[in-house]
Amino acid sequence: MYRIKVDHTKCTGCRYCELACSLNHLTTALNPKKARIRVLREKDRFFPVISGPCTEAACNIKIDIVIGDRTYDFCNLCRAVCPYKEVFKDPKTETPLQCDFCGIDAPGPACVKWCPSGALVLEEVPAYY
């Protein structure tokens, strides 16, 4: 099975992934706000975050995540489509938008194909992973 490996240290914030995703799903237009991957900014770093499962309730806990020598607010990097977070929802209908891997059209989903910096890479991992 495949996974999209995200290396945030390589992300320059060009948002090609958002454009690619929206074009692939809208088919005739571009719209980064309708993308199922969003480049979120946290403490001067860009993090490409792929939309995950939709939850009906927001978390009531606060978790910090440590990457290297920096501590980040996990909420900012969380993939869940939750009531608190105004991303990964269609801006007009508020329908949750979930990544479908663009149907795994090798060598990668649209965001991976359009990522120029190598921050997004498609990797094959064992099925039990």
Binding site: C14, R15, Y16, A20, K33, K34, C115
Partner: protein, 434 residues
Amino acid sequence: MFGWQGKALRVNLSNGFVEEELISENLLENYVGGCRLAKEVARLEEVSAEKNKLIFASGALTGTGVPTGAFCSVAGYVSLQEDILCAPLLLRFGPELKCCGYDVLIIEGKAPEWCYLFITDEEAKVIPVAEMEGYTPAEIEEVIRSSFSKWYGNDIRIISIGKEGEQPSGLGGLVTDGLLVNYSGGLGNVFGEKRLKAIAVRGTLDIKLAKAAVFQKIITDAIKDFREKRNKLFETVHTVFARLELPLSREIHHGEIEKKACLACPIACLHQREGKFLPNFTVTFCFSELLEIENMEDALTLYDLCEKRGIDPVALSVTGRMLIELAKVGKADVTLTPGDTKQLVALIEDESSLLHKGGFWLAQHYQSETLLQDITKKIDTTREEIFAQIEEAGKKKAVLEALGLCPYALLAFPYDVIIKAFEAATGKALEVKE
């Protein structure tokens, strides 16, 4: 209409009246975008000292995903230069304005008090913010973003002015999302004349493409090609910059820095350290060659001050050099030694100093037009050096600028790719006229 949105937004700050207008397809086909479109709209609107307006224009390819397609041009009549000036805005303001449904934004009139303009999907509001007078661009951005939820606020793109733009000056520039806009000296003062402290945009509308599948393939192939040749390309770019020999640039861009990109730019020529933008190549050249600043700390201090006050660093360098030269021949009564940042900072902080008049005013007042021409030519010649290896670079750069693209695209992408992408995005053939 494909590629473009086909609409302009007109905002009158005097009465808060907001109007949406259709743009003639003919106008967009003849002036596809960028400064050409902004200046043409300014001409049609009869922009002058008495009837000053701010014109923003995106290109046909702005926000479409064509490499480096992020530019939006801003034009206005700058009194101290007695001419309509135009500067390209980087990062994401143009694409966001397009997602609000507009290719062109026309701002006229003068607000009764300091205000900012907030544009969303086919809607605009003039919001009074008298308390923002004297705020730095960073403070304005913080205030605007924090008045919305975190997620919504992060998607807002902002152009703002600092203290320099609030007063009559030739140096008042623009700041967009923390980045100083080069060549915007004087345009910040047009904002100030209108009592417009900032423009914030957030759009969620689609940008439609004529032949989306063809367009997608062109961009996919171009990026694949870019990735394969990336190391070689960066080597070429590095060689070009190394040939220009700027020790200050090497020093500034050394160590722990992060590369940042405008929307859809694989090159990512912007650099940040600890969340703050560093001077780019043009600014580094201006600081080291015109102001003769050799020390990195001094250059960063000066750039930081420019960012806080909203001063165009290019206009500052040109004016500083003018003063140095005029003082040398005893024409101007001012003390400014080349390389002395303290003296320069003192002149910046003294709001009555000649420095705030700008290069054009100094050239006219001291009848030194040739000196100004020589200084600006020096910058232009160096910028031309970057494209020296590219055939017909002048023509290609003009086409890219008109399309709303950064000319640096020529360093990494074949010109034909851009032309094909234009045709796929708009469904129209691009005719290049002299």
